[in-house]
Symmetry: C2
Subunit: 245 residues, 2 copies
Amino acid sequence: MTMPGNEAAFLADYDPQAYDRPSVAVDLVLMSVVDGAPAALLAQRAEHPHAGQWVLPGGFVPMNEDLDAAARRILSDKAHLDGAYIEQLYTFGAVDRDPRMRVISVAYFALLPADRFAAALEADPALTLARIAFAPSGEDRLQARGRQGVLPLAFDHAEILSVAMTRLRGKIDYSDIAFALLPERFTLRALQDVHEAILGVSLNKPAFRRRMLDRGWLQPTGERETGASFRPAELFRHRPSPVTS
Amino acid sequence: MTMPGNEAAFLADYDPQAYDRPSVAVDLVLMSVVDGAPAALLAQRAEHPHAGQWVLPGGFVPMNEDLDAAARRILSDKAHLDGAYIEQLYTFGAVDRDPRMRVISVAYFALLPADRFAAALEADPALTLARIAFAPSGEDRLQARGRQGVLPLAFDHAEILSVAMTRLRGKIDYSDIAFALLPERFTLRALQDVHEAILGVSLNKPAFRRRMLDRGWLQPTGERETGASFRPAELFRHRPSPVTS
DNA sequence: TTTACTTATTTCCATGATGGATATATGTCA
DNA sequence: TGACATATATCCATCATGGAAATAAGTAAA
């Protein structure tokens, strides 16, 4: 290769094939809170490697697509969902994490209200919504349960899921991501349930109410929930970050 | 390609060259606090593209090296440093972020006490330690200054640096990363200076002292600083996370 | 040796956030 | 109409924090 005198000439001469390169994938941790427990959407692999086992929905990143765009495409194509809150999580790059070849995976997590998963589960029978149980030990080990028991995850996806849960727990009480797990209108009770499910603790009700209200994130709608056989709670809406705007 | 009946056969048949793949790089944000201001180590590019401009030290990830190992290797080879606190930051994957080809960059940040940079700066004249000034507007824009004025960064490295500063600011008061920016023994004043430099605010001294002391992170040494022309402060040592152990 | 000086360290108090018990309000349903 | 169950409000003790002020402990000059 010659040494070109200027940058344009250099680029024209540049050979991108000079070195072997790893594949880059995006894996999605699609999370929600279902029946008082965190849950993640998993897919059953149809092909080798690890055919039949459960994994996070994912796919490779083509040459002409931004990482974030790839995440959204996989959300739509593989999980039949859209409009989720999406955030890049961590990049996993151990040499042997995939038996086929070197694959570096950029993990994203995506948060959705529980009811939004119904369509996805119907559209694709290879998907399941797995409950994430806290390990009996206080430690950070996770167990995913499907319809019939404990679900082991293929590749290093259990670790990815664990990192996602840790991130979620870390962010929930200083950011407003909890609202991404709730429908547009919700009661304070529902908001508290989400916090309790993610953190794995039970919270004091008046204190929680106070805290949320004077964060300025809640917009009262004046409406009340229906269908309860007792005093219905007021419905609130998420008022997006009044501080930042 | 045939459809193999078992996983071993499938892997034997698998062609990793079937699709074009991006290059993967690791870029390092090497940070410290120097003279009361955050600073980052920058390198002057010797080659195209952007020859002569300033960038974060970085390099490509070969096929047989874990991401974390690549970060440590670059720390050692490109920055002539070792033993830094290293943490993965974020992965940047816009299609056109590098004019040569598609490069996905996994950014790490690394924290070091200010005095550790001296050897690196001597060993490699293409390195400089740039001061990071807060933008006059309250916003999160950053300016890097070198010996002779404002240093613009090539590629998307200004954005990477900005993400690193944001992460550092976000973590400094609930984690113990501040200690990675200090020598083994330090005064409470020095610890507070680090916090103030990162956060860009001045803190209340007695409150800061109390907070740090009952976090349990500080181990008194009984020794005192020397060379001050007034009452010398006690030297403390970092006692690594008493909670986690 | 003593005193001025400067910063470290401690003490003290006011304030605001939080945990938690308790009281009150307001729906549904028998 | 009243029992019931939960929402919502009130109240108080406790703890973390900001900040002023007092005290301690070195150095250096008188």
